[in-house]
Subunit: 210 residues, 2 copies
Amino acid sequence: MILFEGDLGKLERRFRANFINSLGGFKSVVLIGTKSAIGNENLAIFSSLFHIGADPSLCGIVIRPNEEKQNTLGNIMATKQYTINHILPDFYKQAHQSSAKYEEGKSEFEEVGLTPEFIDSITAPFVKESKIKFACKLIQKIDIQLNGTFIIIGEIIAVSAPSNCVHEDGKIDLEQSETITLSGLDTYHITKQIARLSYAKTNKPVDEIH
Amino acid sequence: MILFEGDLGKLERRFRANFINSLGGFKSVVLIGTKSAIGNENLAIFSSLFHIGADPSLCGIVIRPNEEKQNTLGNIMATKQYTINHILPDFYKQAHQSSAKYEEGKSEFEEVGLTPEFIDSITAPFVKESKIKFACKLIQKIDIQLNGTFIIIGEIIAVSAPSNCVHEDGKIDLEQSETITLSGLDTYHITKQIARLSYAKTNKPVDEIH
């Protein structure tokens, strides 16, 4: 099927949401932990995390300030801090459940059955059940006026990862850490490595790295 | 292992690039096709695609204007158009090879052995070998001054997808389309679906959708 601009505009609302959300390919899916100014803990699932740079270490997330996500945005603006936690097959249903519209003041940690964890001086809660997790401080908030969303840029200020998941050259083995991936709005997948490839050069074909 | 801000700054450059690039979890990995103002075709691999919204249909990419990626950025600014093409296990090595620093004026399509394809009035080249592919028009360029990168926001103006990969409710089956995913800078993975989950509500546990 081939759809053009005019066709996309005419798609039924739910169809279009499913279609466009899965069109970009597999996504990072993580739980973002925050604390409000008065200390309430919040946990929300996000699938828009993207890498911006390694030096300084920066990443971005897109936040649509709807009912489920407005607390995350409010808490980040108030405390300038948040944690990002990978999701494992063991608790992907609890992670998905965190997107339900819980009342203000209720902690999604408690409601879905995940455990807040605190590391050193970081005030935002991590997810104890995650293996790979990191904390960010707010660097920049960008308004996307076209659709009322925001891009939040954060600098990574702490990382926790099991040593057996980190290769000698720094690469994190995301299968060893049991990290899962998402397609569309609601479909979870594990992965199977095809190969790691060498740095590409114009004068020779790429090799597999073992 | 736990690393804090100061530790991250002291990591060896290559270690940090591998570490931070794999920290965010699995990523969308796509080939971006563009044409220069004088008609030269360009193809480059990107792993920073993210969803911004479905109505209007918007997505973002991060571009670091280094030697390999400056042509993509220049072409998008000149022609306001680009295509985004999923990668299959059949040609992931060619896709990776497109990141080599080919001379100005050489087409990566030709150099790596992929086929440019033209659909209707879209002037940017698609990748014939991809199953899921779409075209965007440039909407906004955002400077990330902190590290000299740019976020390019595009509106989706055309989509091509095999009908047997699109569910009745609009969800694209990314395993049916053989779309692969990336971890870090260089490791390619296929996926295996765990489950599709129902919309989360506060008063009942999530179900699997079959």
